[in-house]
């Protein structure tokens, strides 16, 4: 067995070397550092990460704007998020992530709308600050129930040297609402990851001081309780945060803040008042958790709500931070859902057993979903992050097997070549990759958007996840690809 395993590992290493050969020398040298075959027992995956993508390849990465507007700020539902600059960034990110929310859009919530300053040439030449000041007032008048406005900067804003902070401060006083300037221009950093960090910093600098002031004045209108927690880093894609929240509430915790999926301005203000921050997407939100730990002494805990084993493990770890009442309830929750999960596995495992999966996504998913696949009898043979950092790759080691192929910021070319050679049964990645692989007659699921399905988090989400993997893999349409008269 060991010999077979090491032979396979050697073969995978050979594949990596072969795939690299097509690159020009300089690019080959750079890309080689981002690809590796995992050796069990090592403390990280042995790949470099969070480094500039090489020019001229098809990277799947986005930009800082995407990280801030699309992920951290955009889902805060009762605020207006202005795409400040030319029309494109706002247009392409309009309603793109399925961050579900409850509200009357255009009246008290604004999640699926596109607000833009639609920069024209004159704005670039003369600066956009005047226009910005004017449109913030227009927005506040047309949407009186909006709780505030964020300014999501696009590339030209930073390049022409606009002072959006000054405009934000001035207009905020004028309209009597918070205006948060976010310097998330797309050229900053190497991916959307810096946008997450920048957005977190604006929460620290522009939101929490208001929360502190209100707490001091006693105008927060909030009675703290012993079991208050914040659910952080869940963007409620297909309702994920809700199928997570229900478990936390069932175990007796009080979820005070959902940040940012389906979140509100007020929930953000309440965040520093909780007893524990629970973070699902470490990559995008660890910064604010660390800050709250330092500034408010609030501990934080990472958890994983994909698949029953990880859910149970996480529920127990969370309960450990509280008293016996909560611990007992956590056990009840685990027991309650056990038959449901067992039924799902009993139904779907026989259909999925032994299937091999290649993953490539962002955030937490390249590692967190692996146990969910495993519970269905599937094996993840390769994984990697769009925009992970060293700490993500360290955390990944807890989830992967010896010999797993790791690719950081994989290029379109590499991904295709790896798929051709490793011949997985399923690829789980994003929309840009989906049809490339489907043309290869390879079953595919989008793991950014759950392929318009979901939720995938929590016990209820696991049922949907299992159903979806089955329908992707076992669709009879794959058997139609080859014409019967072609041997």
């Amino acid at each position: 067995m060991t010999t077979l395993k090491s032979t396979l590992k050697e073969e995978t290493r050979k594949i990596v070397t072969e795939v690299l050969e097509t690159y020009p020398e300089k690019a080959q040298k750079k890309r080689a550092k981002h690809l590796n075959v995992y050796d069990e027992g090592k403390a990280d995956c042995g790949v470099k990460s969070n480094i500039k993508s090489i020019p001229g390849v098809m990277t799947t990465r986005g930009c800082a704007y995407a990280g801030s507007k699309g992920v951290v700020w955009g889902p805060v539902k009762d605020m207006i998020h202005l795409s400040h600059g030319p029309v494109g960034c706002g247009y392409y990110s309009w309603s793109g992530r399925r961050n579900y929310y409850v509200g009357i859009t255009g009246v008290n919530t604004f999640g699926t709308m596109q607000f833009t300053s639609d920069f024209q040439e004159r704005d670039v030449v003369f600066g956009g600050d005047k226009k910005l000041a004017k449109l913030l007032v227009e927005a506040s008048e047309l949407f009186p129930l909006a709780k505030g406005i964020t300014i999501q900067s696009e590339c030209p804003v930073g390049l022409i040297g606009d002072d959006i902070e000054a405009v934000a401060k001035r207009v905020s006083k004028e309209i009597g609402k918070p205006v948060v300037p976010v310097r998330c221009e797309g050229f900053r950093g190497v991916s959307q990851s810096l946008g997450h960090h920048i957005a977190n910093d604006t929460v620290r600098d522009w939101v929490l001081p208001i929360a502190d002031k209100k707490a001091k004045e006693g105008s927060l209108n909030f009675e703290p309780g012993p079991y208050d927690v914040a659910l952080i880093g869940d963007y409620n894609i297909g309702g994920d945060a809700w199928s997570s929240r229900i478990l936390l509430e069932e175990m007796g915790l009080r979820v005070v803040t959902q940040f940012s999926g389906d979140g509100t301005w007020n929930e953000m203000l309440l965040a520093p008042r909780v007893k524990l921050n629970l973070i699902h997407c470490y990559r995008s939100m660890n910064y604010i958790c660390r800050h709250m730990e330092e500034a408010y002494g609030i501990p934080w805990l990472e958890f994983n709500f994909f698949g029953p084993t990880q859910i149970a493990k996480s529920l127990r770890a969370i309960a450990q931070r509280f008293d016996e009442t909560i611990q007992a309830k956590a056990e009840q929750v685990i027991a309650k859902y056990k038959p449901q999960s067992e039924a799902i596995i009993a139904k779907y495992r026989p259909r999925l057993e032994g299937k091999r999966v290649m993953l490539m996504v962002g955030g937490l998913r390249p590692r967190h979903v692996i146990p969910a696949f495993r519970e269905l009898g599937m094996e993840v043979i390769a994984t990697g992050y769009e925009f992970g950092h060293g700490d993500d790759y360290k955390r990944t080691t807890q989830y992967i097997d010896d010999g797993t192929l790791i690719y950081d910021d994989v290029s379109g070319y590499e991904f295709e070549e790896f798929a051709k050679r490793l011949k997985p049964d399923l690829i789980a990645s994003g929309i840009k990759e989906k049809y490339v692989f489907q043309k290869m007659a390879l079953p595919f699921r989008q793991m950014h958007s759950w392929d318009y399905s979901g939720p995938y988090h929590g016990y209820d989400g696991f049922a949907v996840f299992a159903r979806d993997m089955d329908l992707a893999l076992n669709s009879p349409t794959w058997d139609l690809v080859k014409a019967p008269w072609k041997s």
Binding site: E121, K439, P455
Partner: protein
């Protein structure tokens, strides 16, 4: 227990379960959203004339615009050529967005690369990125042509593409005869249709340069424009085939964006062959089907070829009639009998369905040429356009649209709202309601808010499958448009007469 193994509920039903409804109620305690009364009051206010006036006073804020930015159009044009890799110089997030947007509409792969410029390039310029990028793209993706366009970042810092590409050639990264057309496509000028024009002109001027004019070869060029109906491109080819006229489609991305699944990923399916495109100055004439999308390309072709350039919109019966007559006159070939039969069938269908459409008040929005075609079709059906919103409009378009509307008794109630967005349209639809809305998928928010049935026509269409595979041009296309419109109206008639014992007296079987 919400999940039943025999009937697993996803988001569409799961969150309607009492457990989740209770959860959402509980969450409200912390949300501090305004009271339901306050929300209802403001919601009503947003439907009023007062709100409409305030909304139209906006000068700086744009809300839900019906336009995208230049590079999207540029890369859409680029993939219409054989073996062509779109190469976007600037910040990398843009390409991720373009590829995502196009892929979501077509449900097809879309390959494009970026030079991934970051802070250092913002300071020192993107020359290094461009040179390295060309070298890598060439090695990995083995294109026959690389079509370079910019993002707003590269434009703001003033990168000079022409000089950069020359430097790349001098450094031997790409050979001297390898075609690298380039276009400056700042996102703060024009829209996606401007980018289409800039790129197409760049490609044609690059490819024709070594060939030039050698005399007529009997071909007719057709420029589709930012036309996202791949069925249209196939229909154009079929019509020319029936005429027996040799055709060059300039930027034929029909196979690229509607490719067969044969179990292999082909990076560059189809496309206008480069040597064919290089001959375009020797064609008899050039048709553009999108006048406002292609002004610079047409000007280039007119000057460089010295041959006629014509515009046509083969939408609806009249639009198709006019185009076929233009084509027949130009080539001296008679209109094929088969097309006349198709015309008869389409007219038959129009007369069969007109009663359901006649007098219906319609709001529509989209790119200028798309809207012109739809207006023409609606008027010949007896529908009444009311609100016509074109975010990326210009004065010439507005004058043409007004003239068309003025020419028909059914166009008298229409207003052309150039430069306005879908939030303006929302106010228009609340204060002056219509029976039908025509536009892309973003219109579903207007459908929800106003209850006006939506016919999805245009780009992008994310939430309905396969519409782009059908033609909207020619008599066959007229039939498709009619089908989508009349059956949406009939669906609405059914929906409105569905309540048993109350509205279902007119829940008719036969319509």
């Amino acid at each position: 227990m919400p999940q039943d193994i025999q009937d697993i509920k996803d988001h569409a039903r799961l969150f309607q379960d009492p457990e989740y409804q209770a959860l959402l109620q509980c969450k409200q305690t912390f949300e501090d959203l305004p009271s339901p009364e306050e929300v209802a009051r403001v919601a009503e206010w947003t439907k009023s004339w007062e709100y409409r006036e305030k909304n139209f006073q906006r000068e700086a804020l744009t809300i839900n615009p019906a336009k995208a930015c230049q590079p999207l159009g540029a890369i859409f044009a680029a993939v219409g050529f054989e073996g062509t890799l779109p190469f976007v110089h600037g910040s990398q997030g843009c390409v991720a967005y373009f590829r995502t947007h196009l892929t979501r509409h077509f449900k097809e792969p879309f390959s494009a690369v970026s030079t991934s410029m970051t802070e250092d390039a913002a300071v020192f310029g993107g020359l290094k990125n461009l040179i390295e990028g060309l070298e890598n793209a060439y090695a990995l993706y083995k294109p026959k042509m690389i079509a370079v366009c910019t993002t707003c970042m590269a434009e703001v810092i003033g990168d000079d593409l022409g000089a950069f590409i020359t430097t790349a050639r001098n450094e031997g990264v790409i050979s001297r005869d390898f075609p690298v057309p380039y276009a400056h496509t700042p996102s703060f000028v024009g829209s996606h249709i401007t980018g289409y024009d800039n790129m197409l002109k760049a490609i044609l001027s690059t490819l024709t340069e070594p060939v030039g004019r050698t005399g007529s070869n009997g071909y007719i060029n057709v420029i589709p424009g930012f036309d996202t109906y791949m069925g249209n491109l196939r229909e154009i080819k079929r019509i020319f085939g029936l005429f027996g006229i040799p055709l060059t489609l300039l930027a034929d991305n029909s196979d690229y964006l509607d490719s067969p699944n044969d179990g292999t990923f082909h990076m560059y399916p189809g496309g206008t062959p480069l040597e064919v495109a290089a001959q375009c100055l020797n064609a008899e004439a050039t048709f553009s089907f999108q006048r406002y999308t292609t002004p610079k390309t047409l000007e280039f072709l007119a000057e460089a070829s010295g041959r006629p350039t014509l515009t046509a919109r083969p939408v609806g019966i009249r639009g198709t009639d006019e185009f076929l007559m233009q084509l027949s006159q130009l080539t001296g070939k008679p209109i094929p009998a088969e097309l006349e039969i198709e015309r008869g069938r389409a007219v038959d269908a129009f007369t069969d369905s007109q009663a359901w459409i006649h007098g219906k008040r319609v709001a529509l929005y989209g790119d200028p040429d798309l809207v012109m075609g739809l207006l023409s079709l609606l008027l010949e059906l007896g529908a009444e356009p009311i609100h016509v919103v074109v975010t990326n409009s210009n004065e010439e378009f507005e004058a043409e649209a007004r003239a068309l509307l003025a020419s028909s008794p059914y166009g008298q109630g229409a207003t052309v709202w150039g430069g306005k967005d879908l939030w303006h349209l929302r106010s228009l639809m609340f204060t002056e309601p219509v029976d039908l809305l025509i536009g892309n998928s973003y219109g579903k928010y207007l459908w929800r808010d106003t209850g006006t049935p939506l016919v999805r026509i245009g780009y992008p269409i994310f939430d309905r499958h396969h519409l782009h595979r059908y033609p909207t041009y020619g008599y066959v296309g007229a039939l498709n448009l009619l089908n989508w419109i009349v059956n949406t109206i009939l669906d609405e008639a059914d929906r409105r007469s569905i309540i048993p014992g109350k509205t279902d007296i007119s829940f008719d079987l036969i319509r």
